[in-house]
Amino acid sequence: MKNSNKVKLFTERSRTRSRLILFSLMVLTGFSLISGKIAFLASKENKKNISYSEKEEIYSRLNISDRNGYILATNLEGASAYIRPDEIQKKSLTTQRLKSIFPDLNEAVLLNKLNDGRKFFWLKSIVSPRQEKALFDLGQPGIYIGKREYRFYPHGTLASHVIGYTKVNELDVNYAEISGISGVERAFENELAIKNSSKVKDYSIHLSLDLPVQAEVENVLKEWQKRMGAKAGGVVIMNIHNGEIFALASSPDFNANKERGELGKNKASSIYFNRVVQGVYEMGSTFKIFSVAQGLEEDLFTLDTQIDTRAFRINSRKIEDKYKFNSESSIYEIIVRSSNVGSARLAQMVGEKGLKEIFSKLGLLEPVGLELREANTTRPILPKNWHDITLATVSYGYGMSVSLLHLAKAYAILGNGGIDIEPTILKKNYDSQSGSRVLKKTTSDEILKLLEAVVTDQRGTARILGSKYYRIGGKTGTAEKISLEKKGYLKDKVVANFVGLFPLQEPRFVIAAFLDEPENNFLQEPCRYASCTVVPMVKKLIERTGPLMNVTPDHQALMF
């Protein structure tokens, strides 16, 4: 009896225990199910959140803006229209209706596309909001609208050569991949095309250009190009201390909202050709200052040294001047009145090595290191052999071709105290010089004196530049163009240019300008020299852009 009781007690206890274990197992399963679900939900949510920010790209390409933040290029959402011909029943009726929305459509071509058995084709790669609504209202099956982005240039032709343009690489029904073809759009392709917008803080690339200055420069350039009957022209204004380009205009220009093309074979006459950066020309007398600079650098002479300026021959070729010079003239006079003979003599004193040295210091033998690809691929055209005659002609700007940007850079170094600089299209946060010294400070000071004399001296070639507001210094250059048909130069076609520095009490800017085949017919006799074509333009440019760039007029100059 005692034993059976014991057994009963034992079985009951074990049953209770197993029930408890079973129950706690159930509770545990319940809890783990709940916590598992919570964990699952939590992890799923996380993933979802990540996918939002990755998917929803607003800025698939950054804006380009000027130094003040004015937008020069931006991406906007647009629509493109495509057609699936299978789904269209009344094809000729549809064609007529589409023609009423898009008047420029060719009906025959469209009808052919609808009937030739293709499954899909693009109707329009970009449609306006109004056209988009009209397409919707049509209610025609088989016509679809896909959202896509496109590049928009709010200022049209303004700074078109600097900004450049883009093309659509890949076009899908809801997606367009845009990539840069020229200008800043190409040079900064990697920075502009962003993969993850959440990491980007500033949605713009800030250029060094100043929109009001650029607009003023383009207006004046176009006006003078027309007035002088010139084929083309270009202007660049650059800070001589840090190389920031404030304005760069090349005319004729283009509107990247409408026209996007390749340079083509005859690139020098293309509207897409950046004449300031890509165009290399023989520059003429603006080169004369270089042999003077090298002579001063080597202490070969001073500005008062007398040089023989009688016409002479090198290998039967006569070197002479258009104006009459005394048998001996000072270097001051050679530059102020622009003597070819004097310049050739100076080059002989400096020698081939000296001339090459100064060209190399001023960056005239290499492409300019501007960020634009157009600049990196533009090499100066140098003489193959440096004969005696080459040395003489190069000293006054014949036999060697450089771009206007090269000249601007060289004059900037001459004017900033002799510090090497590199032109840049990006806004810099500092104004100071960071390059190494390539010329003596005294050379730079002497050169500035000479350049000012070209303007202030009554015999100077740029005397009409004498401004009552600013002290300006510079050098004119007029080079006859090479004939393409026969050997030699054309007497009636020139490239006229001017490079100047201002304000001279504390030089800050270099301005370089040129006109291709100008002719001033407003004078008693037609005049093609830089002094009567480009120089008046530069005067207007400086007086209009100076105040915009915070250059206060010199009150000493105001006294006149």
């Binding site: 129950f23 509770v27 319940g30 809890f31 709940i34 679900k37 919570i38 939900l41 949510e45 979802k48 959140n49 939002y52 929803e56 607003i58 004015y70 937008i71 020069l72 931006t74 991406n75 906007l76 959402e77 928009f152 709010p154 200022h155 049209g156 303004l158 929109l211 009001p212 607009a215 003023e216 207006n219 507001y469 600013y470 504390e506 007086e543 209009r544 100076g546 105040p547 915009l548 206060t552 007029p553 010199d554 009150h555 000493q556 105001l558």
Partner: protein
């Protein structure tokens, strides 16, 4: 009795926890939905912003402003900035009263006059 109490508490708490989890789940779904909506409205606001920015840039095109300034010349008298607009410090007319004379020193570079002298 004790067993019943324990059993009851456990069942009750399981039920309560289940409810709580359900509520959290429901709330998180709602929050998720709101985030989606907000993201959408931010996106469309940003797009609007971009369009407005582009339009503003277009409206501020220098040539357009110049034409407007010419058109409204008699009302606004706006002319392009000119070196003549800068005048020397000594040419500023301060009126008859000496009280109106400026006391602040102006940068020498701006005026061409050295006030230290």
């Amino acid at each position: 009795m004790l067993r019943f109490l324990l059993f009851g508490t456990l069942v009750g708490s399981t039920f309560a926890l289940g409810l709580w989890a359900y509520k959290i789940n429901y709330e998180s779904r709602a929050a998720d939905q709101r985030v989606k909506e907000l993201e959408k409205s931010i996106l469309s606001a940003n797009k609007q912003f971009k369009i407005l920015n582009a339009e503003w840039a277009h409206l501020n095109h220098p040539d357009r402003l110049r034409k407007l300034a010419e058109y409204y010349f008699f009302e606004l008298r706006l002319t392009p900035i000119n070196p003549d607009d800068f005048i020397s410090f000594s040419d500023v007319y301060w009126g008859q009263s000496s009280e109106n004379e400026p006391t602040a020193l102006v940068d020498k570079r701006l005026t061409g006059i050295d006030h230290e002298e």
